[in-house]
Symmetry: C2
Subunit: 703 residues, 2 copies
């Protein structure tokens, strides 16, 4: 770190335009590539078609007025996209009309920008922008716009450049660094966008003082700024504390600014910084997806987001071209069906064309959280090919700041291309103006963040840390064990702070036994306390319950909410049944495959069947279903669950096989702080499964 | 008809084996084709792999015991598939082991068949089989098995053939024609399977008397039997009265037996019969699918059934090879990704390989119902390419016997590859033994068949014909008008018998106006009565309501059923709001596109928001949502609805366009028995839309 600071000096290479994603010396090669390599050709055709579409519309720079999703909001977003597209179209085609369009638009912005006050609709609890309702969108605007400007720089007369700089970019730099100083110096993704916008503008306008502020903070002391952000926002495994959805979002300004730094100041060796942290962060983003490309939707997340997102098109292209050309990145680029029309995109498209792609290498792994890697982590277990993969995610990471959910030891299960035990994600209809301007809905707080919305333990109908994120931010789970052998993958973690006086330990394994084709999910959730509590373990599931060990009788003529607070008020109780046997199962049919969830408990439990939607006057909650094991009053409590993945049904040929479970006789033999001993029967074979918390050499013993 | 009867004489061509789908003279060509043409190669590889898999298991012919979905049920189903696969594998590979397997299995059946009593678990209200819980499955078994036998015929010693005939096929022929005589002579799909099994067995065993009974009924007088079934079960447009799901099922024995007749008695020109009725029926089956290949799930239907179903693999292959080689059938075969390893499959695979396929030609059309084509029909409106097609189905067909639903004038809407306004289909988990043996659930009657489960009018909370199918069977709607110009497609139909004293007329159009990209759905539903009634018009929808013209407040702390009978008892009332303005809209987001359903009424209505699931103790009902326009008490009532299909949202790039409606000011200017005059505004343009019931030359007038 000290080394790096010494190396950092105010020396910017001779100015050439363009100089960021597309550089002057490569224009000719990229131009040829758009004729030669199908993916680059297609990507450029799209850019050019969009640019041509922009050109037929007149330049429209409306006075900022609307919230997210509204007309002026969308127009300004469209404008930066248009400027970038026209910039690229100008460089590749050489046709000046594209440059003229960008120039006219920037002159219009330059004429108006200073007249605009802070945006009249201000996003709640967010710093206002001038063009958009939050400053974040202004930063994003400039990250794209400055690239568009850079592309057409040489086509604009010095006089007009002066007008644009004086009317738009210079006041904007001031706004971003002075008015928004707090954000600029904040270790947070909004800060990253601010920094990247300022730094890139500094390079393009040749204003080294702004570059230096961007890299080392407004005080230029390295306590804040780009490098401090890389140090503090990512774990050594390249995990960004807010979770995958924000990781991919946060990543873009990091990598695009890194690319600029690398072009203008290669001697800073930014891609090598912190042991190739940026490459790790890109790879980790990809590892945080299911095989269909969707990000694990933990914390605040839009559920259908995939790695096809533009941020990861940049990420994959730069990782491959500028950091390390791993051939499995090419298959991701292929699925993205797009490259950035740039130096990096050229290389990706060329190598893809040369047939160098290999399937993306998903790996079971523990991704550690925290700047020093010591604040818990995410355990990811994977079995099977990318075409049909069982994936378990155990969330034992830290809170993840304001977008974090109260879901310590949450479990997600995917199989057969779909969600089996899902996470709700966030309560938000992004960009749908009629739903609170596309912003987070009140139900995000009252429902989506609450513990009961997740597949983890709720004690006394209260969320972890009583739903207080400041308190939750101060502590994190401990990962006790992680192993990823092919036939036994295990993650074990403990959470001791979510509920004072209650220790929670979850140990989840993917265990392949000889008798069955698909590995079993062996899930053991222990709560240890000296006082009695109500312990609720919900399983939010997709599919339809088609069988159960006990007769469940749904309430027929009335539904009531499950509780009053911490998300319970949003749940309808559909059925409730005492499980006297302390064991049982439910079978779910989902995407033509069966999932039998067996359970055994050491105290009597109630089986509750639940659906979402109570206390939702605006009908904003999305259909969700769960069953819950609820132990009404006990000190220690062990939930021993096995998810059996079996059989299939084909509704086209109308055949069903393997619908019956091969598992039985789940027993909790003993369970305490040091050891848990369990048994179960697969067909005729009895297995004993032991967890030894204090013996890392023999953590799981299977007989 | 008389002509045909004269031509029919008992003359069967010289016996050769095999002689049905695969014929001796073509074996060599098919064998070569399995090397040459990818689709035939792949299809044969699958057959052979399945045959090889069968061979490693020992022959298993259990004593019949279990209901549908159970072990013995599935084993016997598997056995006929195995025998057919092994038969084909024997013919193509020439390896005798496959023939030996079929022989051993048939000998086992022959040894046991006479010992088996009627099946111990009898399907409610169905005639028992011996091998299966209903005789229907026995017929199906034999349709496949006799083909397997035919394939290996020459490899079995005459002595063993005699044992098999005497122990299995002959008693079976007796069972099918004597014990099951009622079914054999019934004009119904169960009868068709019986007939086909008997007729094909008659050909293969060279027992012409059975062939003659199959073709002309047990009395050989033509009043029943195969030809009578073709005459009475299909409309002149090739529509089978029970609906698409049973049409494709009923079709298989028709076409497979036709193929046998054509091979053994080509002089009967069976494919020419009734103006090429079988070819029409196959084409109509395909026209009764959405562009994703799923059948319109009207009446009792499994929803995920597609034209990839084996019955239509047979249908498409035979239609193409034996009736008329229409190149658009090849693209269906391509999507089916399978051909029958047969003479017909060879031709399809060869022509597909030769690049002759064209996209399947979906056409807007009126498909008439009734043996004479005068019992109503289905109106299908279509707009757009197969990649993104708007489709409306208006059901104005007859009741369709026992599997019919009480849904006169029901409307289904598809767009963008998905259901927008769906039909529930049947309440059934097919082949899932834990759900009532995979059979129809009680909720099929109490819910799925009831009027309120459909997108059509319910009067006084009572189903059409009070839910009595015998009564319903006696009458049918009248199709008033059908037109399918590109910019205006219309279907109009009246139902006068569902509710005594109430005439219902629905006129639905797909109207392309210049101002909008996507056609509008203009839907006018009139009820005319001299007495006051409650009129409920539900819209079952997929997606999520994201906007509405009025503030809807969901019930927060309690849900109650909507009613007590006719399906209303299964519906939870989630919200209820008086629409004082007599007009309004709701916007639904579904698969990233917006659907704004505008409505205007001539009386005040309540807007009710509904979800399915009340009075469902076994939790068998599948999540469904609706809103309902409910006019509490009026004589005449007009519902004027426009579905506007607009905009899009992209959750990967996080952009939204066209979310706002461009429609407004819906007005009912006048509405009576003769004429309805309406107006609405698209952007700034006012349209007047007039329906003239008594003027077919000018049925819809648009200004």
């Amino acid at each position: 770190m000290a080394m790096f600071c010494l190396m950092f000096a105010l020396r910017i290479s001779a100015q050439e335009h363009p100089g960021i994603m597309l550089t002057k010396k490569n224009i000719e090669a990229v131009r040829k590539g758009t004729d030669t390599y199908p993916l680059l050709k297609k990507s450029y055709q799209k850019v050019k078609a969009d640019a041509d579409k922009a050109l037929v519309e007149s330049v429209n720079v409306p006075t900022p007025k609307d919230a997210g999703g509204g007309a002026t909001h969308e127009q300004h977003k469209k404008n930066y996209t248009n400027m970038l597209n026209c910039g690229v179209a100008y460089q590749i085609s050489g046709d000046k009309k594209y440059a003229t369009y960008v120039e006219s638009m920037l002159l219009k912005y330059a004429a108006d920008y200073n007249k605009w006050p802070l945006h009249p609709k201000r996003k709640e609890n967010h710093q206002a922008g001038k063009i958009f309702w939050q400053s974040l969108n202004d930063f994003v605007w400039q990250v794209y716009t400055i690239q568009g400007y850079d592309m057409v720089y040489e086509a604009i007369s010095p006089k007009n450049r002066e007008i644009i700089n004086a009317g738009l970019f210079e006041p904007m730099l001031k706004f971003f660094t002075v008015d928004c100083k707090e954000t600029f110096d904040k270790i947070h993704n909004h800060g990253t966008w601010d920094i990247a916008a300022v730094g890139m503008t500094g390079y393009v306008l040749n204003k080294p003082e702004y570059v230096q502020m961007a890299i080392k903070g407004s005080a230029k002391d390295g306590k804040t700024g780009y490098l401090a952000q890389i140090d503090q926002l990512f774990s050594p495994d390249g995990y960004y504390t807010e979770g995958p959805y924000y990781q991919r979002y946060a990543l873009l300004p990091f990598i695009i600014f890194a690319k600029a730094i690398n072009n203008f100041q290669p001697e800073l060796k930014i891609f090598e910084y912190r042991n190739q942290l940026l490459a790790k962060a890109i790879n980790t983003s990809l590892q945080l997806t299911y095989t269909d490309g969707t990000f694990f939707p933990i914390n605040d997340a839009i559920k259908s987001k995939t790695y096809e997102t533009p941020e990861l098109v940049y990420g994959v292209d730069i990782a491959y071209a500028d950091i390390k050309p791993l051939p499995d990145l090419l298959s991701v680029a292929e699925r993205q069906a797009e490259v950035v029309v740039s130096d990096a995109g050229l290389k990706v498209a060329a190598d893809l064309y040369a047939g160098m792609a290999t399937p993306f290498s998903y790996r079971p792994q523990l991704i550690k959280d925290g700047a020093n890697g010591k604040e818990g982590g995410l355990g990811i277990l994977r079995y099977g090919s990318n075409e049909d993969q069982q994936v378990l995610l155990i969330k034992a990471a830290s809170q993840g700041m304001g977008h974090g959910h109260f879901d310590r030891l949450n479990l997600l299960y995917y199989d057969n291309g779909v969600e089996i035990l899902p996470d709700y994600g966030s309560a938000r209809f992004i960009n749908i103006e009629s739903k609170k301007g596309g912003d987070y809905l009140p139900e995000n707080k009252s429902w989506a963040k609450q513990t009961v919305a997740h597949n983890t333990l709720v004690v006394d109908q209260t969320s972890h840390h009583k739903g207080n994120s400041d308190v939750a931010q101060k502590s994190y789970p401990e990962v006790l064990y992680f192993k990823s052998d092919n036939n036994l993958q295990v993650v074990s973690a403990a959470e001791r702070n979510a509920y004072p006086g209650v220790e929670m330990i979850r140990t989840t394994a993917l265990l392949k036994v000889a008798e069955l084709k698909k590995p079993l999910v062996i899930d053991v959730f222990q709560a240890l306390s000296e006082k009695p509590h109500q312990y609720d373990l919900p399983f939010w599931y997709k599919g339809h319950i088609v069988d159960a060990s006990l007769k469940i009788s749904g309430f027929t003529d009335q539904l009531k909410p499950l509780g009053e607070n911490y998300g319970y008020q949003h749940i309808w109780l559909n059925a409730e049944q005492l499980v006297k046997e302390k064991a049982g199962y439910l079978s779910i049919l989902n995407n033509k495959r069966f999932y039998t969830i067996h359970f055994a408990t050491d105290n009597e439990v109630n089986l509750k069947v639940l659906s979402l939607g109570a206390n939702d006057p605006d009908m904003s909650l999305v259909e969700s279903k769960a069953f819950m094991l609820s132990a009404p009053k006990s000190n220690n409590q062990t939930f021993f669950n096995i998810i059996e993945t079996h059989g299939r049904t084909n509704t086209v040929s109308e055949t069903t096989t393997g619908a019956s479970s091969a598992l039985s006789d789940l027993r909790i033999i003993s369970s305490d702080k040091k050891q848990v001993t369990l048994s179960f029967k697969v067909k005729q074979k009895v297995y004993t499964y032991q967890i030894n918390y204090q013996n890392k050499e023999n953590f799981i013993k299977l007989n």
